[in-house]
C-alpha cells in the first residue's frame, strides 16, 4: 500500500478529533454564549456557520488549484486522486455556503437571492466544480481525465480573486471583509466563536479530504486486485 495512504490512515483520526473539538466549542459559544447583534438580533448566529463554510470552500478550491498544477507537472496519480476528492468536498462546502447565505439574506436583506457580484461569483465557483465532476465522469481514459480536469481547475482558479475582491471592486449589498490587513472590525464576543468554527471547518475539510482520498485509492486498489484475479482465472482456464 502507498506510503502516503498509510500516513493518512495513521493520522487522519487526529484531524477528525481536533475538528470535532473546535466545532463543538464553536457551536457552544456561537449558539449559547455569544450575545445577539443589536440590529440583526439572533439571526447573526448564522454568521458562525456561513462565514467558516465560505472561507473553507475558498481554501479547498485553492488546494484543488495547487494540486492540479502539481499533477500536470509530476503526473502523480495519487495527487489526481486527491484533486478528485477535493472537488466533491469543495462543492459540498460551496453549496452549503450559498444555502446558509441565502437563509441569512432572507431576514436581513428581505430576499433569498440577489444578483450581487459576491453571490454570483460564488455561484460560478459551484458551477465550475459541477463541470469538473461531470468532466471526470464523461472521460473514460483515466490519464486524459486527470489532465482535462486539472486544466479546468486551473482555468477556474480565475474565479478565486474575483470572489475575494468583489466586495471592493464593485458596489455590493454584501458586507466588506471584517478581517483584513487593515485590521479586525468585529467584536471580540463574535470573533471567538467565529475563530473556533473557522478552525474547525478547516480541520474538518482536511479530515474529509484524507478519508475521501483514501476511499478513492482503495476503490482503485480493489479494482486492480479484481482485475488481477480475473486475468489469473482466465490464464488458468486457457492453460487447461
Amino acid at each position: 500500500m502507498n506510503r502516503f495512504i498509510r500516513y493518512i490512515q495513521r493520522y487522519k483520526g487526529w484531524f477528525g478529533g481536533a475538528a470535532a473539538i473546535c466545532l463543538l466549542v464553536g457551536l457552544y459559544t456561537g449558539l449559547l454564549v455569544s450575545p445577539p447583534d443589536y440590529y440583526q438580533g439572533e439571526v447573526v448566529r448564522i454568521m458562525y456557520v456561513h462565514v467558516p463554510l465560505a472561507h473553507t470552500s475558498l481554501l479547498a478550491y485553492s488546494i484543488l488549484f495547487g494540486g492540479s498544477i502539481w499533477f500536470l507537472w509530476k503526473r502523480d496519480p495519487l495527487v489526481d486522486n486527491m484533486c478528485q476528492a477535493a472537488s466533491s468536498i469543495t462543492a459540498l462546502f460551496t453549496g452549503l455556503a450559498l444555502v446558509t447565505g441565502s437563509i441569512w439574506a432572507k431576514p436581513t436583506w428581505n430576499t433569498w437571492w440577489t444578483w450581487d457580484p459576491r453571490l454570483v461569483s460564488f455561484a460560478v465557483l459551484l458551477l465550475i466544480l459541477a463541470g469538473y465532476m461531470m468532466l471526470r465522469r464523461l472521460v473514460d481514459d483515466p490519464d486524459k481525465q486527470g489532465i482535462y480536469a486539472a486544466v479546468l481547475a486551473i482555468v477556474g482558479g480565475v474565479d478565486l480573486p474575483i470572489i475575494k475582491f468583489s466586495v471592493e471592486w464593485w458596489r455590493t449589498l454584501h458586507q466588506p471583509m471584517s478581517i483584513s490587513t487593515r485590521g479586525i472590525s468585529i467584536s471580540d464576543d463574535l470573533l471567538l466563536p467565529l475563530t473556533f468554527m473557522s478552525l474547525g471547518c478547516w480541520l474538518l475539510f482536511a479530515y474529509m479530504l484524507m478519508v475521501r482520498t483514501q476511499m478513492l485509492y482503495l476503490i482503485e486498489l480493489l479494482q486492480a486486485k479484481k482485475g488481477r484475479l480475473l486475468s489469473q482465472t482466465h490464464f488458468s482456464q486457457s492453460a487447461q
Binding site: R6, L31, I103, I219, L221, K225
Partner: protein, 170 residues
C-alpha cells in the same frame, strides 16, 4: 465494525445533546409570554418577555432619553406600558417588538426595562440544521465506504499483508 457504529452513535448523541441544550436556552432566555397570559394572575415575579405591537397614536414621553409610555397590543388584548431603560433604537408606533420587564398587577401596567427584536430562530435552526446534517451524512457515508472497502480487500482472494494489517487496526 461495532466500534465504527459506536463512534458514530456517540457523535449522534453529542449532536442531540447540543440541540437539547440550545432548545432549553431558547426556552428560558428567549421565549415570550402572550399578553393574555400575564393578566391571568400567574405572572412570574422575575422579569419576563412579552411580544406585541406598539399601538398607533399612544407613544408619548422622551423616547430618545429612554422614558416613554405607550399601549402594547396583541390580538384583542391591549395593556399600558411604562418604559424606563436604555434609549430604545427600535421603539416606534406600529412596530412589532419584544419588551423585557415586570407586570405590576396592582397598578395595571407593564414596567418595561429593555427592548429586543422579534426572534427569527427558525432561520438560525434551518442554517445550522442543513449544514450539520449534510456534512455528517457525507462523512458517515465516506467512512462507511472506507470500512467496507477494507473488508472487501481483506476478503478478496489475493492476499496483501499491508492492507490486512491496516484492516485489523480498523
Amino acid at each position: 465494525m461495532t466500534g465504527f457504529y459506536a463512534r458514530w452513535g456517540m457523535v449522534g448523541a453529542l449532536g442531540l445533546l447540543l440541540v437539547f441544550l440550545t432548545y432549553q436556552d431558547y426556552q428560558t432566555r428567549l421565549s415570550t409570554i402572550p399578553l393574555s397570559g400575564i393578566m391571568s394572575g400567574n405572572t412570574p415575579k422575575e422579569p419576563i418577555r412579552i411580544q406585541g405591537m406598539v399601538k398607533s397614536g399612544t407613544l408619548a414621553g422622551k423616547v430618545e432619553q429612554g422614558e416613554a409610555t405607550f399601549e402594547f397590543t396583541e390580538g384583542t388584548v391591549t395593556i399600558p406600558v411604562e418604559y424606563h431603560g436604555p434609549p430604545p433604537e427600535n421603539l416606534r408606533e406600529l412596530k412589532v417588538m419584544v419588551l423585557k420587564g415586570r407586570w405590576d398587577a396592582e397598578a395595571y401596567v407593564f414596567k418595561a426595562q429593555d427592548t429586543a427584536l422579534v426572534n427569527n430562530y427558525g432561520y438560525v435552526a434551518a442554517a445550522y440544521g442543513v449544514s450539520c446534517l449534510t456534512i455528517v451524512l457525507m462523512l458517515f457515508a465516506m467512512s462507511q465506504r472506507v470500512m467496507v472497502l477494507f473488508k472487501e480487500i481483506k476478503e478478496s482472494k489475493l492476499y496483501e499483508p499491508e492492507v490486512d494489517s491496516l484492516a485489523k487496526k480498523q
